[in-house]
Subunit: 185 residues, 2 copies
DNA sequence: ACCTGAACACCGTTCAAGT
DNA sequence: ACCTGAACACCGTTCAAGT
């Protein structure tokens, strides 16, 4: 039977979540779909394009309602959603951060952060810097957490995970820095 | 003629810098050394172990003298050195961040940041959070900058690089957040 | 100590051809 | 529109054997 782009994408996300990025292979994905590897190229021009769609799907699945009113809380809401969306899928942080850095997708969180900052009357020249500083922190934190957990479970390293720093506290450091800058202007 | 571990490592770094992570292959590295791929396993137990050594070497080559006295400047000095060390080698940010997250190496910058923070009488429970927030920012920023540059030069995407945010300004956001927290205690 | 040679179990991508 | 089958040019890793 014939598949659609959405079928291929759904199976790709399922494969990623079940067995990690190393297992998300055009050949394994083909096998999962009962199809030759080359058939996937009818739906996606390259593996990179497939991964970009996977990254967007991971973010879409992590969407949550917005409730906060004050801008610091709105920033925390967006960052927290981004973090949980990535942690919700095996190797999610790696995939999303890479796709975003390549400029191929996963841009929604940054766009939303920029909107929140603009709404908060943050000076225009500070908006891109601040929004990027926030996502750099979120990506870095989630990537470390996810990778360290895998390293331990693979037995590659005997690292204590208790000392993994608190996400919210570090985030507040950036938010507070921004707040201090606003108060001073 | 026989090679030493240091020869293999030097050729690995040269290969990475010249052609990127995708080209740093056990087979290509063997060819570069005039040796069978399997010979490399005499010097490194796995490619992961080789990459860990490469990451440490990238950091070692980027070492600079320390001159700052005040703790905010000392933090900036360490972060700036880390950033330039990674940007100084093709795919350096990717390699260093991944090795560090796996807990296999590249730990020196975090250790040094923790020392600076401790010297500055930052509360002990804040030291690991703050040092990690700083490296998460530096890794995220450098990875984006390096990856975006590659994407553009590969023609994979037509993204303006002018809007790449200023590194120091974003870093000051985190430092200021830390400063605000100290003043409040 | 350092390396060869061969094998095993894989990759992404292309492309003519089929339905 | 969606897929097959075969090919091309690769991967990391293991292991017995050589010097």
């Amino acid at each position: 039977m014939a598949h659609h782009r959405s079928d291929v994408l759904a199976h790709a996300v399922a494969l990623l979540d079940a067995h990690g990025l190393a297992a998300l292979t055009m050949r394994r994905l083909g096998a999962e779909l009962g199809v030759q590897p080359s058939a996937i190229y009818h739906h996606f021009p390259s593996k990179q394009a497939l991964l970009a769609a996977v990254a967007d799907e991971i973010l879409a699945r992590g969407a949550r309602p917005r409730t906060a009113a004050a801008w610091p809380d709105r920033l925390r809401e967006v960052c927290s959603e981004l973090r949980h969306a990535m942690l919700g899928c095996t190797d999610g942080a790696d995939v999303v951060a890479t796709v975003w850095a390549f400029g191929l997708g996963a841009a929604a969180p940054v766009v939303e952060l920029e909107k929140v900052l603009t709404d908060a009357d943050v000076p225009a020249e500070l908006v891109p810097v601040a929004s990027r500083a926030l996502v750099h922190y979120v990506f870095g934190h989630a990537f470390e957490e996810q990778t360290a957990r895998q390293a331990v479970s693979l037995g590659a390293v005997d690292r204590s995970l208790e000392s993994l720093p608190d996400f919210d506290l570090g985030l507040d450091l950036v938010v507070d820095g921004l707040r201090a800058r606003l108060a001073g202007s």
